[in-house]
Amino acid sequence: MSTTENKITLPKSIKQFLSTLSGLIVLLIIFAISNKNFFTTDNILNVIVQTTPILLIAIGQTYVLITGGIDLSIGSNIAISGVVTAMLMKSGLPIFLSIIIGLLSATTVGVANGALVTYGKLPPFIVTLGTMTAVRGITLTLTKGIPISGLPDGFNAIGIEKTFGIPNPIYIMIFFVIIFGLILAKTKTGRYTYALGSNFEASRLSGVNVHSSLIKVYAFSGLLSGVAGLVMAARIISAPPTAGMGYELNAVAASVIGGASTLGGEGTIAGTAVGALIIGILSNGLNLMGVSPFIQQIVTGIVIIGAVFADKIRHND
């Protein structure tokens, strides 16, 4: 065995990231050429704001995917955090406190997911499919099926208002990307997340507290979908109990396009962010090009497969 030295640090995940990024750039170029309104400051800010909810939930999904799991309850968590916050605010609780409790409600669902997965030894797919259904039912029951509207003005701040010309959701998104990017890449918690997905049993035998680590990961996913739910509610100043339906699959798509593996052990927050932007920009760009919504679906499906496929091919070189 001839050990030809190759001194690249973390080569795979960085290569992976660059390859996803190049996909994004290709998309940007195509849309910039085909539509003059695409590459305007307004639209770019607009796309980022539009992508914020998917991006936030995809961060949580990435953590879960890295452990080898999946979180289907994301969509329902979006709804419950929005609805709980909205109901509390309307009942007169201070906005800040309402937000905290709303986020707690989504985080609690995440903790329940994690506990069922790790203590109950149940497949994450089934656990989160169950909580997805049950939590949606809870949200509908709480609201009697009717969106909670007429939210206080102060709440707009996180959805609509701008600071230095940039919409606030973008700051929120950047904040969470940095926090959860750092946790994943630089902390013990992040390292354990990878270890669990790479080899659960080896992690346990190495002294990793597998239970609390897994619960933490699902709690992150719950919390982040809760944040997404608040941003969404604040943007439309209304909290519908049906918010976020079907978003979970988009979150998985964003993560996987960004390099996460559904088999666990792989994924980065930077990659996921780019993956989410690809999905968001695709939708925005096709809209601007006036592509019919039916054709848009065909294109989206092909791009999802194509992005992962292109990535595979580049990796095999």
Binding site: S198, A202, G207, G265
Partner: protein, 500 residues
């Protein structure tokens, strides 16, 4: 009829970044067993995979029974009478023994499988090896050693002329090994050809006729085997002389560091007690299924215990899970590196530091320099061969992976280290490195407990030998006062013969 059964000429095979085979030749005659030897990563497995159609060669010629062939997949090799037992277990755990043995060779009538017929055929082969196995057993319920025997039966069931065995005995204990050798000799009598890969050089004497040696992917030489040739073979393998295969270090026995009392587990360990003192290596010997792994796992907290107390430095400690054990300085190197030891998608560095995260983090953040320091230390201590500390574990050869499993536990304050089959599947030179490491721990006053199925090794390196049989501790022997016969005597003291 005079031509060789197999001729490999000038085989070349390159993986990204690694020239695994560099102009390798090999011949196999009818009615012989050819030993294929070399260090970890020498290219043995790669060569036999080329011969069995798993990999395509880059260059060279494969001649089987006088006919030049070119295999595109394993099925084509099989149709030319080549069967292979791979180094890694390759069974479908959800299928039965018979279903695995006859996968793709099922009997069927009108498109429907005739399970009965297949089961009868499989049972015949199992019985011919005196295996206590049913054809209808689910593979997932079998111990590793039994699974390995199923692999062997699978290869035998194909009636191949050429049978390749890649470290078949690394997961077996004496009883099965004896059966295996009996079968190999029988096959030899039937004029079949066998290629046999192993790192247990002592066992070659029973079966091997010639040996071919590889080093760093290159063909070194082929010799007729003879017992007296072992030193020569070893020096060809490692490229230097090795004088002492078991470098025992004598050391003063100190006070007790570790004691367990009355350990029992649901997995079959029954009331085991023993103590370990500073300055000694304790070996735990026994046959397959003796419960040694279960004992070690039970102590470590990896499995549940039904009873038992554990003392370190005469202080009772409570261990409910591996985390508790590690906090108290009790470490364990597991038996199955793929399953229990390594995160193979992660880098060498990340694996080494996984049990030591508290040492490399500040305020929860990982400190790169501290990580590198610990990792470089382990690489150096164990002479791990790797291009960089960031190399992914899955790209390293088996022996180097095994060293990482051990290296994980070198960094932080160990009081007691339990090794379960630490030298399984690694080459002579690397084994000596591991013995030296255990010796060093012993000199530092750390308790060393060590499970091994290789009696020569146990006798060569340990100070005291505990013998287990059927979950019970049967004997506590001073190594220098005992021998193989005595150990085997205790290892077969089954409960049924006991008078209580």
């Amino acid at each position: 009829m005079n031509h060789n059964l197999v001729e490999l000429k000038h085989i070349n095979k390159t993986f990204p970044g690694v020239k695994a085979l560099d102009n390798v030749n090999l011949t196999l005659k009818r009615g012989e067993v050819l030993g294929l030897l070399g260090e970890n990563g020498a290219g043995k497995s790669t060569l036999v995979k080329v011969l069995s159609g798993v990999y395509k060669k880059d260059e060279g010629e494969i001649i089987v029974d006088g006919e030049k062939v070119n295999f595109n997949n394993p099925k084509e090799a099989e149709s030319k009478g080549i069967a292979i037992i791979h180094q890694e277990l390759n069974l479908c755990r959800h299928l039965t023994v018979a279903e695995n043995m006859f996968l793709t060779r099922e009997d069927s009538r009108w498109g429907f499988l005739s399970k009965k017929q297949t089961n009868i055929k499989a049972q015949k082969i199992l019985d011919s090896l005196n295996l206590d196995l049913k054809a209808t057993d689910l593979v997932s319920n079998l111990q590793v050693s039994k699974q390995q025997m199923v692999e062997i039966c699978k290869a035998l069931s194909s009636d191949a002329e050429i049978i390749i065995m890649d470290e078949p005995t690394s997961a077996l204990t004496d009883k099965e090994i004896k059966e295996l050798f009996r079968v190999i000799n029988k096959l030899k009598g039937q004029n079949k050809g066998i290629i046999y890969i192993s790192h247990r050089l002592e066992e070659l004497v029973h079966i091997v006729d010639r040996v071919t040696i590889l080093r760093d992917g290159k063909y070194i030489t082929t010799l007729d085997y003879g017992k007296d040739k072992l030193p020569e073979i070893i020096s060809h393998m490692v490229g230097r002389e090795i004088t002492d295969k078991f470098p025992r270090v004598e050391c003063e026995i100190g006070e007790e560091v570790f004691r367990v009392e009355n350990i029992s587990t649901p997995s079959g360990v029954k009331g085991v007690s023993f103590q370990a003192k500073k300055g000694e290596i304790i070996a735990i010997a026994g046959l397959m299924g003796a419960g040694r792994t279960e004992l070690v796992r039970g102590i470590f907290g990896a499995d549940k215990k039904t009873s038992g107390t554990i003392f370190i430095d005469n202080k009772e400690i409570s261990i409910k899970n591996p985390r508790d054990a590690i906090k108290k300085g009790l470490f364990c190197v597991p038996e199955d590196r793929k399953k229990d030891g390594l995160c193979i998608k992660m880098s060498l560095k990340q694996n080494i530091t996984l049990p030591n995260m508290n040492m490399v983090t500040a305020l929860g953040f990982i400190q790169d320099e501290r990580e590198s320091t610990i990792t470089r230390d382990a690489i150096e201590k164990l002479s791990i061969k790797t291009p960089s500390e960031n190399q992914l574990v899955k790209n390293l050869s088996g022996g180097n992976q095994q060293k990482i499993v051990i290296g994980k536990w070198l960094a932080s304050g160990a009081k007691v280290v339990m090794f379960d089959e630490p030298t399984r599947g690694i080459d002579v030179a690397a084994k000596i490195e591991i013995y030296n490491l255990m010796n060093k721990l012993k000199q530092e006053g750390i308790g060393v407990i060590y499970v091994s199925s290789e009696l020569p090794e146990v006798l060569g390196i340990s100070d005291r030998i505990l013998v287990m049989c059927n979950g019970r501790l049967k004997a506590d022997l001073k190594t220098l006062d005992t021998d193989q016969e005595e150990i085997m005597y205790y290892a077969t003291q089954y409960d049924s013969t006991e008078v209580i």
